[in-house]
């Protein structure tokens, strides 16, 4: 008994003995917390109401699967984790991960040079292509909760993000003029694919199989800024699809031409009027195969698709903004088109920001499908950010 009391007392006195104070960072020997990268987490939630239930043509994922607002009712679209830091005097590293209930996706992980001469910049890794205007913009900077029809259809729900290299050159002029080229793998993107298709004896296309080039320019007239861009993509498209007992394949390539224009006028530090429009034109050239157990039929395909979106956004002040968007998608019947593919849409939205770090939006969409069905939907979304200040481009 005495021993127990003795040991308990000794033990307790050790527990509550003088604890050495935590030293400031400058005095800790191996601490490296000063090198923690900038970290931010941007979350997006939405509530979708639609008057016609979403089609369950889940096999045609690449066309009808939306990256966000996919389900009726509540959606947890993503928790975007962004890490950014300088690596050394020559490089920066940025990473963007999308966490969802389905798992994690590395949306972008790339390094960029910081010390090249003559206005050059090189980037390598997995990144969103700078093609066009909307593609390089992260969802949380958009003025509408859903992707533009033509961008979604041509480049994918989450935009064209692929593995490769990029080189950009900024001209030494008073006005902004930038030329860029990219060579991307073109492998895992469902919109472009260089995979082998054994059923028709086609091996993997040479990779990298996506070539992208663009020129962007901008000039100001007082408080109005005009930005214009021309972009081009050329990529292999080797695709194989199975629907039940039907097997289809397509071996060929796609060319996409894009033109974009943005006009933005600032009335004061916070309120602005912005007009943004993009027109994309796509050429699909190749052979379409119908693969049946005993017979494979091949058809020459030369399809042309196009589409555009135009959006007008008025920011009344730092807290309120409204916007309207009009879009069309013109498909080619030489290719299989889902009857419920949306080919025309008008949207209107109103947005409230309590601060720079949270955005709440109500958006109404009036869409028309390929077979002329009207779909009305309302999306209420919340985009909330914590962590390092993410200053965005114009």
């Amino acid at each position: 008994m005495k021993k127990t009391i003795l040991f308990t007392t000794l033990f307790t006195s050790l527990l509550f003995a003088e604890v050495p104070p935590l030293k400031p960072i400058s005095q800790r020997t191996f601490a490296q917390s000063q090198y923690i990268p900038d970290i931010s987490l941007i979350t997006d939630f939405s509530y979708l109401y639609q008057n016609k239930s979403l089609d369950d043509n889940q096999e045609h994922q690449e066309h009808s699967h939306a990256a966000s607002n996919a389900n009726e009712g509540f959606n947890f679209n993503y928790a975007e984790l962004v890490l950014s830091s300088s690596v050394d005097p020559y490089l920066n590293l940025d990473a963007v991960f999308h966490f969802t209930q389905e798992g994690v996706e590395a949306e972008e992980v790339y390094f960029t040079t910081t010390a090249l001469e003559y206005g050059f910049e090189a980037k390598g890794g997995q990144f969103l292509s700078d093609f066009g205007r909307l593609n390089a913009q992260h969802h949380h900077t958009w003025n509408f909760s859903d992707n533009a029809l033509v961008n979604n259809y041509f480049l994918g729900g989450e935009g064209l993000s692929d593995l490769g290299v990029q080189l950009q050159w900024l001209a030494p002029l008073d006005n902004y003029l930038m030329f860029g080229v990219e060579a991307l793998e073109g492998g895992n993107e469902t919109k472009f694919s260089n995979q082998e298709v054994s059923d028709v004896n086609v091996s993997k296309a040479t990779s990298p199989s996506l070539a992208i080039a663009y020129v962007k320019s901008s000039f100001d007239i007082d408080d109005t800024t005009l930005m214009m861009g021309l972009s081009y993509i050329y990529g292999a498209y080797n695709n194989e699809e199975t629907h039940g007992l039907d097997k289809h394949a397509f071996i060929g390539n796609k060319s996409i031409y894009g033109a974009d224009v943005t006009l933005k006028h600032y009335f004061d530090s916070y309120s602005f009027l912005s007009l943004q429009s993009e027109y994309l034109y796509q050429d699909i050239l190749g052979d379409s195969y119908d693969i049946e157990p005993t017979l494979t039929t091949k058809t020459d395909i030369n399809a042309n698709l196009s589409g555009y979106y135009t959006q007008l956004v008025y920011a009344y002040n730092q807290n309120y903004r409204v916007g309207i968007r009009n879009e069309r998608l013109l498909l080619d019947e030489k290719l299989e088109i889902e009857t419920n593919e949306i080919t025309a849409k008008n949207s209107i939205m109103i947005e409230y920001h309590p601060s720079e770090f949270s955005r709440f939006r109500v958006q109404y969409n009036n869409a028309k499908t390929f077979n002329k069905t009207d779909i009305h939907s309302v999306i209420i979304s919340a985009n909330i950010a914590i962590g390092a200040h993410s200053a965005h481009a114009f």
Binding site: T114, L177, S218, T225, Y270, S355, F394
Partner: protein, 300 residues
Amino acid sequence: MNPLFITILLFLFAPITLLAHLNIAVSYPYIGAITKAIGKDHVKTIVLAKGNWDPHFVVPRPSLISKLRGADALIMNGAQLEIGWLPPLIRRANNKKVVQKSKNFLNLAHYIPMIQKPTSVDRSQGDVHPEGNPHFHLDPNNITLIAQTVAAFLISIDSEHTSVYETNYNNFEKEWNQHLIRWEVAMRSYNNLQVIQYHDNLAYFNKAYNLKTIGVIEPLPGIPPSSKHTFQLISLIKKEKPRYIFHDVYHSTKTADYIHNKTGIKVIRMPHDIGALESITSLVGLFDYLTQAIATGDIH
């Protein structure tokens, strides 16, 4: 090869060092004015922000990227005043001379004693500046310190003209001291004056002349006025009877005007930089205006 062709090629690819000056990009107009005063003909200043814009929310238009691309050096205010707009511009300028780690990059905040450093930082308290109040240039005594820092910086990147920069600084300091005396006299009668602000960007000016900010129209930094806070402020004004609201030039005066109607307090527009008001075209002009504003009672 055709000699004319070679000549044309040479001209196209000749380095543009025919111009003897340094292109110094600066974030705000006051930095441009100080840099020009020290550098004179040896520098050309490229100011990124307009004087009448909210310094926290400068529009990052692509033309600013081109301006940074052509710069030989960059001088910024610091203390996170530019954090919402400058970093992506620097990134896209593809100019290694203006990146943070370059020896041609100067962050002024690192050389100025800061006030109002928060003991803890959390966005529930609004958009607080973690390094302290960043509007340090509004204490005219700090202008001398900033000029000294800019002079040392110019010498470090262009040692060939050291004596020129030193002379220019000495002349600037002497002249500025005369103005400092003048302003001190002008502000003497306002010692201990209580004022209201929209956002505390005159903290350093007030400290220099012993004015006391007893309330702000923003409930929290970066948060727009709310009815609850405005009513509390009106009660405070009725109790303490401050005579002036010092209002910046970039926020709407709607709430200030409402408070004026309820309490009679005067609303005075206080510029924060050169160009904040059309009549302000120099640093001396800026402080002349600020020190005379109360006297002339420029009621908006």
